[in-house]
Symmetry: C2
Subunit: 339 residues, 2 copies
Amino acid sequence: MDVLIAGFGVVGQGIAEVIRDKQELFVKRFGERVRIVGAFDTCSLEVDPSGLDPTSLLERKLATGRVGTRPAASDVVKLLQETEYDLLLEVTPTNIIDGEPGYTHIRTALAAGRDVVTSNKGPLALRFHELTELAARNRVQLRFEASVGGAMPIINLSRELLMGENIISIRGILNGTCNFILHRMKEERLSFDFALREAQELGYAETDPSYDIDGVDSACKLAILANAIFDRDVTYSDVLRTGIRGINEEAIALAAEQKKVIRLIGEVSEDKLEVSPRMVPIGHPLSTGGTFNIAQLLTDLAGDITVVGRGAGKMETASALLSDMLAILKDEEARRLAK
Amino acid sequence: MDVLIAGFGVVGQGIAEVIRDKQELFVKRFGERVRIVGAFDTCSLEVDPSGLDPTSLLERKLATGRVGTRPAASDVVKLLQETEYDLLLEVTPTNIIDGEPGYTHIRTALAAGRDVVTSNKGPLALRFHELTELAARNRVQLRFEASVGGAMPIINLSRELLMGENIISIRGILNGTCNFILHRMKEERLSFDFALREAQELGYAETDPSYDIDGVDSACKLAILANAIFDRDVTYSDVLRTGIRGINEEAIALAAEQKKVIRLIGEVSEDKLEVSPRMVPIGHPLSTGGTFNIAQLLTDLAGDITVVGRGAGKMETASALLSDMLAILKDEEARRLAK
């Protein structure tokens, strides 16, 4: 399997490390190597049909800030159409205004008959059905476990392992930064501003924290779940959204009196699509603290199934990308074996 | 897909209902019906190669206590060898002394070239590798999601979605009855005996509760996880086991002072295999109350992944059996499509 990596920030570097370190698994399980035949970032490009050395890419990025020795492609569409590769790993940053450049990368690769695995929320929160239909028409796969909840395997769990269930609703904590802030406010009786500053100092929240604390990030993920699991046709702006700026110490204390905690909960069902702070009984799976992401599925047969995982981080996101790559390798193996 | 159901207690009746109610899914997703071509319980048998009506089986069982109109087969091995079916659903009760009658059912079906899906812990906690090797030799599948944690999808999650991870350890709450008792002792300051009686009155614990509270049930499930996920070769008696009889109100109160709760935790890794009561910080995923089952996987890339589900119950167990049936249908579809 030959892969092209679009974007070489934290996530791109993570998946390059994983491709380097899991060769034994690829060979042992599927009898083939996974080669990186190209990689690009904003200002550089490296391509080699015989395979690039992941360590060299990582070292160059670290030393020079660039993954490649060549300047960035003047025409990235042409690059994605004319380079030889099997799979595009689209790991450029999320842009929720127009989904670019991820949208163009994904669309071009799918139209060129390539499988795509992505962690990029923008294109999926904005133009989900257009992209999945394009993939179906071209008989290729578009997989995106890494776009929601990092290492928490919510997409593939819902669509594959729970294929037989009627999933009635999903409620979850989809943003670890908000969960950290709410947890610290309760446990240490901190003010919102103090807990936010702590989250920023620990690197959990950006200097401009609004993407997290106003619920935009959660809303993007919820829109993806709505599209992918409930077959709805929504974008992130369809999500009814309230963030956690308004949560003060009194609200936290009042919840505690009732043996409850406040959590920023996203909920999606056939007729619901909402992110808002809610009270959760202590001991309930959704009361979990820390920076975890959590999703609780309500299904017809299994009842409640909850999954908890690390919602962000280099290797956590790479782990989700890897699981999608392996699913594609497995499907190809099944096809090969049957012939 | 033609199925034969061995055992028609609560779980057998649950899967018969599910097969009846999910026909639309089978046809829509795989273009074929799932037919029950045979079913038997301790004293009766019903076989029809053209398919039995699930509702009739369920009604007869309810009215007469027997699933079939014919007496039980005098030679069940011959029945399993000579009846035409694709899949054996082995859902007789767990027996941890010798695994019978499940062991003979499963072994015979696999040797006859049939796939097997089971909820029966006994054969898997006692003779795991013999059975999986027999399945491999005969190029058929032996699947057992329902044997551990009811609707909690721990086996397929670990072996399929997390195929790329190195799973370092699994820690979990594998018995809902114990969790209910420990949760009630803490929340309502009940004595162990009182909480146990409450669990019995609610139908969570048997009249002889030792299978649950002495950790035998948890140890069986842990042995299955050790065999299936860590490729170890153990039986349930290899598990270092302490139950919860010794947990008193003082222990619970002492834990609470440290913001902790006591939970019966099973842990398996390459060199650990133990069920024992442990202190867990409040807010940690493993501190969850109620009758849930929980498993927390520690992996090399994803870090911690936790999954929570209902550990027992008719439809919950049927849900896990269904997920294994669908996985087999999906593999067969892939094989068909590639030809």
